[in-house]
């Protein structure tokens, strides 16, 4: 009985959900939940990475040729952009953790969003759009007639599927960040309760990591010499 009564009477901090015993349990649960979700994400992207690994082995020359159709400078720039956004995300969480003014949290969050949007903008304008114009988008605009045409088409399929799914994750991330900005503005977070920021941060960093591998696998791995 006492437990139930305590549950009703005890003052819990904001953000506390009824099914938990205390904030510590709640935070552990949400962090574990997010990590479990990221494991599913690893295997989600993993399906494509598996296919990529195998085909790269089977059509090595074609994949190198295909890789040379991509411009390293854009890939590298976008990598820098995403790393910056990871830093700003980490700083946003740190601001909440250390109880800084909400303005500061919002500043870092918005900066993260700007960098995320910059990534997408660069990708869209300088890569996908140009690829479309150049006719190296399989199934939509395909005019490539250089060497290894079938294998290059395969590589470009991977390129668009992988970067496309990654970009979708970025878009979802921007949506989450928007929600976080609103929640921060409404004073939802405190040093006791910032789990949504923390776990959204995990997601954002994960998307960054995926890009680190995409950059290496798609742009660099065939060598540029």
């Amino acid at each position: 009985m006492s437990e139930m009564a305590a549950h009703g009477a005890h003052k819990h901090p904001p953000g506390f959900a009824h099914q938990f015993e205390d904030m510590a349990q709640q935070k552990e649960a949400s962090t574990l939940g997010m990590w479990a979700f990221l494991v599913t994400e690893i295997l989600f992207f993993g399906g494509m990475f598996t296919a990529y690994t195998i085909y790269r082995e089977l059509h090595f020359e074609s994949f190198v040729t295909g890789s040379h159709l991509l411009e390293v400078k854009f890939g590298a720039t976008n990598t820098y952009v995403l790393i910056c956004s990871s830093l700003t995300m980490a700083l946003a969480i740190r601001s909440a953790q250390t109880g800084k003014r909400k303005g500061q949290i919002i500043f870092w969050l918005i900066l993260t969003m700007i960098l995320g949007a910059l990534f997408l903008g660069l990708k869209l304008r300088f890569e996908w759009y140009r690829d479309y114009v150049d006719g190296i988008v399989p199934g939509i605009s395909w005019a490539y007639n250089g060497p290894h045409a079938p294998g290059v088409q395969m590589f470009m399929c991977f390129y668009f599927f992988m970067t496309g799914v990654h970009a979708l994750h970025m878009v979802a991330g921007l949506g989450i960040l928007t929600v976080l900005v609103i929640m921060t503005a409404r004073n939802k977070f405190s040093p006791e309760y910032y789990a949504p920021l923390e776990i959204s941060g995990l997601y954002w960093h994960f998307v960054d990591i995926v890009w680190i591998f995409l950059f290496a696998l798609l742009y660099l791995i065939g060598g540029r010499y």
Partner: protein, 312 residues
């Protein structure tokens, strides 16, 4: 009388059936064992009063280990037996008659090297090992002759093969065992196993056709292959005489035996398999050859190999 066993008409069938009987025996033994124990306990230990208290029994490590180890041992035996048999059944004898199969929605197109073609029918001689090399023109099919206990998927874009040696004459089912669309269940046919004499007559009868190798030779000239692949090796491409069935060093450093798949790959994606010391200048013939022509070209390259051997 309900049939419970398919005819066993190939040299492979006997071994598979023996293993099948063993497995059936194991299945029956354990099913009967578990059912009997359950029934025995059900009766012996039925609840006699509502207040009955079951005595406590303790987990026995010996029992747990017993029923972990015994199934493990059975599995080891089964694995070794089944795998040895499978490896043996996968390997065609070197002196096999060859037959080529193209699956397409929804028929089996069968071609004998001597020239005759058939649809949904396969004539083979009894007592002779037959190797079947297969490909598909569209979706995945599966070439299945239950009486021979052989089955293999037929895939677009590559060759798969199986072999059998019929042991009795007769007529047997040929099925497509991989779902391939609307008329999948009508993609069936008959295998006619004949005495060698009858088979020779069957081959000789019907309209006269060129052998696959002869048809392939014409294609070889028609597509200009002979302008580079000159038989004495002085052309821009390597000589193809005698290459079939031998290991060949490729430019990537890999060594592969020249088989149907490699020749196919060389025709469709030439640069991926070019030999060292030659320029990778051969154009692709993707989209210019149908599966049948491809098989004829391969048959021709193979015949070059045997001519070479015959000369020696």
């Amino acid at each position: 009388m309900i049939p419970i066993q398919p005819p066993a008409a190939s040299s492979i069938a006997e071994g598979v059936d023996k293993l099948y009987y063993l497995l059936t025996g194991i299945t029956l033994f354990f099913t009967v064992l578990i059912f009997s124990i359950i029934f025995y306990f059900m009766v012996k230990y039925r609840r006699r009063s509502e207040d009955e208290v079951a005595p406590e029994t303790h987990t026995s490590m010996v029992l747990e280990l017993t029923w972990t180890i015994i199934p493990s041992l059975i599995c080891v035996v089964l694995f070794v037996w089944a795998s040895a048999l499978y490896v043996r059944n996968s390997r065609p004898p070197t002196a096999s008659t060859e037959i080529f199969v193209i699956g397409k929605q929804w028929m089996w197109h069968i071609q004998h090297p001597e020239g005759p073609r058939e649809i949904d029918e396969l004539h083979v001689p009894v007592g002779v090992p037959v190797k079947v090399t297969m490909t598909s023109q569209d979706v995945i099919h599966d070439f299945y002759i239950p009486a021979f206990r052989v089955k293999k998927d037929v895939l677009p874009g590559r060759y798969t093969s199986l072999w059998f040696q019929p042991t009795e004459t007769g007529t047997f089912h040929l099925f497509c065992a991989q779902y391939c669309g609307t008329s999948h269940s009508q993609m069936i046919g008959w295998v006619y196993v004949m005495e060698p004499k009858d088979y020779a007559n069957w081959l000789a009868g019907g309209e006269k056709t060129e052998s696959m190798a002869q048809q392939g030779e014409r294609l070889f000239t028609q597509f200009g292959c002979d302008s580079c692949h000159v038989s004495d090796g002085t052309g821009r491409g390597p000589s193809l005489a005698g290459v079939y069935g031998k290991p060949e060093q490729l430019a990537g450093g890999e060594t592969r035996v020249v088989d149907e798949s490699l020749i196919r790959q060389a025709i469709l994606v030439p640069n991926s398999v070019h030999v060292p010391g030659r320029q990778p200048i051969m154009p692709t013939y993707q989209g210019q050859l149908n599966e049948e022509q491809m098989l004829q070209l391969i048959a021709y390259v193979k015949s070059l190999g045997s001519q070479e051997r015959n000369r020696k």
